[in-house]
């Protein structure tokens, strides 16, 4: 088999192993979620075509290693009826990772798996200048590490202070982990500074009088994160977005920016080092009208 053939197989999620003639087959998993019939099919496939082993990848993926080259087509065919597709590799939009989200996790602010499905439907496997990873955390606890992804989303609660019932007890200021809440100069109001605010909602949860309330329960977008050999953290762009559709529009437009400004084999974080984050933010705001 030629190098070109190996490259073609890799694009389709079949990666050449150290052991000659064998491949590790990457499967298509969205948001770390598989139905039990799919799991049974994967187990059966590993028994039949591999060596009774499954590898759980660092990004919620599943791979079946030790598959002989001549069994690749049969493996793919075997899995297809259960709805398990093969994965992707190379310069494409990769597995969308997600936490359990608000339907399962008590801390969840957004429905991360649903958003992951939507992003996957629109973008999975689409060509880009270099690999592109999307990760979705349902809340500020950030289990999916939004800042480590080329594009990350985090569930976010923006607080709003309402005067009437407030007794200025100081609890919200004491519990705020970033000291984003201050008392006004005349001592008659509380001011929430959006810059240090991390959207945790602790001030709302703790407020004894209900004076701290949710202004927006929504989505925060991060861009330009990566790990690998030269890690860098993504930075947040745009304001707090209120709707799932807005978060989707933001991700799609971030990707447009990468396609227009990224160079082949250049990670998005490096593209942003060249262009600057403000260029991305201006681009996304102009194209989407998002705040």
């Amino acid at each position: 088999m030629s190098e070109a053939d190996f490259k073609e197989l890799k694009k389709g999620g079949m990666m050449r192993q150290a052991e000659a003639g064998h491949f590790s087959v990457r499967l298509h998993v969205v948001g770390g979620r598989l139905a039990t019939p799919q799991l049974r099919a994967i187990r059966e496939a590993a028994d039949r075509f591999g060596r009774r082993e499954i590898h759980l990848t660092s990004r919620q993926g599943v791979e079946i290693p030790h598959v002989p080259q001549d069994a690749l087509a049969a493996l793919k065919e075997f899995l297809a009826p259960s709805g398990v597709g093969v994965g992707v590799c190379g310069p494409t939009v990769r597995t969308v990772t997600a936490c359990q989200g608000c339907r399962v996790c008590p801390s969840g602010v957004i429905d991360s798996p649903e958003l992951a499905k939507a992003v996957d439907r629109e973008l999975y496997g689409k060509p880009v200048p270099h690999k592109f990873k999307v990760g979705i955390s349902g809340c500020v606890n950030n289990c999916m590490k939004a800042e480590e992804n080329d594009a990350g989303i985090k569930g976010w609660i923006e607080p709003r202070w309402e005067a009437p019932a407030c007794t200025f007890c100081g609890v919200c200021q004491a519990v705020c982990p970033t000291k984003a809440i201050a008392t006004s100069e005349d001592g008659r109001a509380l001011i929430v500074d959006p810059t240090p605010c991390i959207g945790c909602g602790d001030c709302i949860t703790s407020c004894p009088t209900g004076s701290m309330r949710e202004k927006i329960r929504g989505y925060r977008v991060f861009a330009g994160g990566k790990f690998g050999r030269r890690p860098s953290l993504g930075r947040r762009i745009l304001g707090v977005l209120e709707k799932k559709e807005e978060a989707m529009a933001a991700i799609l437009t971030v990707l447009d920016f990468f396609r227009e400004h990224g160079k082949p084999r250049e990670r998005f974080g490096d593209t942003l080092q060249r262009t600057g984050f403000p260029a991305l933010e201006t681009f996304v705001k102009e194209r989407t009208g998002l705040p």
């Binding site: 007794t167 007890c169 609890v171 519990v175 602790d202 949860t205 004894p208």
Partner: protein, 74 residues
């Protein structure tokens, strides 16, 4: 009605909440429990109290220690 004082300044989560919960068991409905606690325990204690239907009716602070007056839910 007398107010019982509970000092949990020497406790950490989850004992802070456990002690508050036990303290409230000794208070009649709509009775008051005063709780002395450190800043670190505020968030979890207050959010748990609210979830369980109790109300924090007053908050004061002295030398970094908070004093909560908790009215037991009916």
């Amino acid at each position: 009605m007398t107010t019982t004082l509970l000092d949990i300044t020497g406790d950490v989560c989850p004992m802070t909440f456990v002690k508050v919960k036990m303290g409230l068991q000794r208070v009649p409905p709509l009775g008051t429990l005063a709780v002395r606690l450190k800043e670190e325990a505020l968030k979890n204690v207050i959010s748990s109290l609210k979830t369980e239907g109790h109300r924090v009716t007053n908050v004061s602070r002295e030398e970094g220690i908070f004093l909560l007056e908790v009215t037991k839910g009916g």
